[in-house]
């Protein structure tokens, strides 16, 4: 017999009914999965990345399956923040869950413009800065791959909003801890780790990179060990909460991420194969906690970090 458990967790000032959120880019803008998943059951939804103006994205093919993984090169196609606020935000506002808006830009100014536009919208519970898109000015490296630029964009956005500010880290760096420190010092309220891992597939028949965007981002269970490592590294380095993401599919996966230091998690690729993944995880969590001898999800946070009993 599994006892009913209060699954609430907090990410800084943001209280979540449970620690399971939909990951940005894999759950659209809300309505797409509404007939297939009970959105009100989720801890929250991170909407697909929005930029100041519409972005076209990359040529297809945009996804390619790999062993226990998925490569994507969507290229951050989105209708722009204005259309997002008009066409999708009202739906998300009524969905009965926390709304996280993932923000993308090519320059510091572009990030700020999106966030400024969102200031007018009461429905936004948190901003998630996606600093893994290429920064055109700095020669093709993304803001997320350099501590100085990561801090710069974080500080600039911090200056224009009081909203909870989460910064999403790229795993494609030598030392994620350095980026984490830099953005925490610049005013981030929480970190999301990780975005996709740079990868590639070859289409043997065409003798070409398989994806229209040539390389792409690897997600899914294949990257879970990489994500756990980054969460464990940054959770030790910074004092702000970490949201774990990468290959999560089961309640046990959630427990692993929380022990590694995550206060909450996001589920991305697993939704494609089973749109009820998140609800199933939420249902399984109480039993999982009980088997692990934990009274609440918060009991697990950081349990595997050095120096814990």
């Amino acid at each position: 017999m599994v006892k009913p458990v209060n699954l609430e967790v907090a990410v800084g000032t943001v209280r979540l009914a449970n620690p399971v959120l939909a990951a940005s880019g894999t759950f659209g803008f809300g309505p797409e999965y509404a007939g297939l998943a009970n959105l009100a059951r989720l801890g929250g939804i991170a909407a697909k990345g929005v930029s100041p103006h519409p972005w076209p994205g990359n040529p297809p093919p945009r996804v390619w399956e790999t062993e226990s993984g998925l490569l994507n090169s969507i290229g951050l196609q989105n209708p722009g923040v204005e259309a997002f606020c008009r066409e999708y935000l009202p739906f998300l506002a009524r969905a009965g869950t926390r709304v996280v808006v993932n923000v993308i830009g090519r320059t510091v100014d572009e990030y700020c413009r999106v966030v400024e536009r969102l200031e007018a919208e009461a429905a936004v519970d948190a901003i998630e800065l996606n600093i893994s898109c290429p920064n055109i000015k700095e020669g093709g490296l993304s803001f997320g791959q350099d501590p100085v630029h990561a801090a710069e964009v974080t500080a600039a956005v911090r200056a224009v909003t009081q909203r909870p500010l989460w910064v999403k880290l790229s795993p494609n760096v030598t030392e994620p801890e350095r980026i984490a420190e830099a953005v925490a010092a610049a005013g981030a309220d929480a970190l999301t780790a990780i975005n996709t891992v740079l990868g590639m597939a070859i289409d043997l028949k065409r003798r070409r990179p398989a994806l229209g965007g040539l390389s792409g981002g690897l997600s899914g269970p294949a990257i879970k060990p990489i994500a756990l490592r980054v969460v464990y590294q940054v959770a030790q380095t910074v004092g702000i909460p970490v949201i774990g993401i990468g290959g999560i599919r089961t309640a046990e996966d959630v427990a692993e991420f929380m022990m590694a230091g995550a206060s909450a998690v996001m589920v991305g690729t697993a939704t494609f194969s089973d749109p009820s993944t998140m609800e199933r995880i939420i249902e399984d969590l109480p039993g999982c906690l009980q088997r692990l001898g934990a009274k609440s999800p918060s009991d697990l946070i950081g349990a595997a970090l050095p120096g814990r009993p």
């Binding site: 894999t26 076209p56 994205g57 297809p60 093919p61 194969s273």
Partner: protein, 258 residues
């Protein structure tokens, strides 16, 4: 339109229908109520589901068919599922074919595993079309042709082509289509098959009012959320991406940009 759902459908039967091709009947009145041209996203052991179109829609018995060629791990797995077992499918998905106009000659152009959705269209709408109906069915070789008998049981004019001439006329479906187009300037054309074939159909039938193409594209979610499955279409302000899984898979040829 039926709302898409996760259906754990009972497998009524699976049978080989050509070299490396199988057809499966699923028991589900929900799926059987789909529009021809819609598809299901089939859960297989990998990271992603696999999109397969309906090959037949038996609304009376509440059965929907899917027909596929084994090309990789997903379709290979699918062909090993036992009768009586359950298949996890997400569907019906996408926008299927529009109903054909009753008084226009109707041509169904199918290449390879593009043939099945056209049979579903014929099955559902064949009786409502009063003008002549023609099917042109092509494959690389005769032993890869599917559903020819199903078409022949319903209409008289079924033309077959194979690349190597091993069955029907040698060549592609484009030959008979050009012919048909010349004789039926007012006709309506529904096509499904490999993308290069569809591009040629669109090219050949430029100016024809009602040309509908069922496209394929690599998919992630299948429900419009991930923006993986795009094709280029004519938007109000120039070319824009449309989602095959949600805005398609059927598009009017004139919408598309090649």
């Amino acid at each position: 339109m039926t709302q898409p759902a996760i259906v754990k459908a009972k497998i009524h039967s699976v049978r080989p229908v050509a070299v490396g091709h199988f057809e499966m009947l699923l028991e589900s009145s929900q799926l059987a109520a789909a529009d021809p041209g819609q598809f299901v996203h089939v859960r297989t052991p990998g990271t992603l589901r696999r999109p397969i179109s309906f090959s037949r829609l038996d609304r009376v018995h509440g059965r929907a068919g899917i027909l596929w060629q084994v090309v990789g791990a997903g379709t290979g797995w699918l062909s090993q599922q036992p009768t009586g077992g359950r298949l996890d499918v997400l569907g019906p998905l996408g926008r299927g074919f529009p109903a054909p106009e009753a008084d226009r000659p109707w041509c169904l152009i199918g290449g390879g595993v593009g043939i099945p959705p056209l049979f579903a269209a014929l099955q559902i709408w064949g009786d409502s079309v009063r003008a002549p109906i023609t099917a042109v069915l092509g494959a690389r070789r005769g032993d890869l042709l599917v559903m020819v008998d199903d078409f022949r049981n319903r209409i008289g004019d079924v033309q077959v082509t194979t690349d190597d001439g091993s069955q029907g006329g040698q060549g592609t479906v484009l030959g008979p289509l050009a012919h048909w187009r010349a004789r039926h300037p007012n006709g309506q054309i529904y096509a499904c098959g490999p993308t290069p074939m569809l591009a040629e159909v669109a090219q050949l039938c430029r100016g024809v009012e009602r040309v509908y193409l069922a496209l394929e594209q690599r998919m992630g979610c299948g429900v419009g959320a991930c923006l993986a499955c795009v094709v280029l279409a004519q938007g109000k302000q120039g070319p824009e991406w449309r989602r095959v899984c949600h805005d398609g898979p059927v598009f009017a040829a004139k919408e598309l940009v090649w």
